[in-house]
Symmetry: C2
Subunit: 142 residues, 2 copies
DNA sequence: CGGCATCCGTATAGATACTG
DNA sequence: CAGTATCTATACGGATGCCG
């Protein structure tokens, strides 16, 4: 993995295949149960561990620690330890971390606009039970 | 669309908390192993089951079926059965499904630009082992 | 306070075999 | 061809307890 990926060159829409793989790859890293929520908690500036934990309802220490470590590892947040007693640790988004809010915001916008439709579709689907006559085309064109 | 969500009004950044929850919610629906890849396979127009399966390397029938059923349920794709022999089923993106490509593309763009940095950060992290002296601030300001 | 280790339940998804 | 059904492996995440 010594890079060498400067040669790929995705000119326009490229083939959706490659774009898809890249998106999937990023998704795989941020789509665990807490990562995005943690990013949200960090979005307002430096914040200490206990405060994050307080903001994210329902998260366990284990999951918060793991999530933060993952973010730190990927260069999305910085971790600053103050060796005081009692100890104190601050977390802060890096520039890279903040940049993630762009696609995240797009996702949020989509949710706001289209999720109701999605849930409605799901309701409809559930009610007709998909077994009745979902979309059987009898007029075989070819 | 019974909506009633016209009342929320996210003026500017709103509070990141709510935006975060919405984004997380959408993420939860598209971030299984195959959904986005399937959307990618569907992106070029109507396509039949076997062709999708052919395009998505490594997917099992079970997973493809489950993924497509999920997409259909959420109103992101339509399923059209041709009761011929042998049977044939076409899948096609709905308008809702296509609209998802907007945030997905944002994600793709982010990946293209920042993923190398992320992987590099990960490499660095792995090499210094995060135990040496990652970021201990001795100058306690307050 | 912040974090790690251990144990354990559950959800997700792969392999395989069978059906209309 | 386009699924369904069953079994199994494993990754994710929660609860608890200990440590610097």
């Amino acid at each position: 993995m010594v890079d060498t990926n400067t040669a790929v060159r995705a000119p326009e829409a490229s083939n959706p295949h490659e774009a898809c793989k890249a998106a999937v790859d990023t998704l795989a890293r941020i789509s665990d149960k807490w990562t995005v929520t943690a990013l949200g908690a960090l979005s307002e500036g430096p914040i200490r561990y206990s405060e994050i934990r307080h903001r994210i309802e329902g998260i366990s220490q284990r999951m918060l620690t793991l999530t933060l470590k993952g973010l730190e590892q990927d260069g999305l947040v910085t971790r600053t330890m103050y060796p005081t007693i009692p100890p104190r640790v601050d977390y802060e988004l890096t520039e890279l971390g903040r940049s993630l809010f762009v696609p995240l915001h797009a996702l949020y916008e989509w949710s706001r606009e289209n999720r109701p439709a999605m849930l409605a579709a799901r309701e409809t689907f559930r009610r007709r039970g998909q077994h009745g006559s979902p979309r059987t085309r009898l007029t075989v064109t070819k």
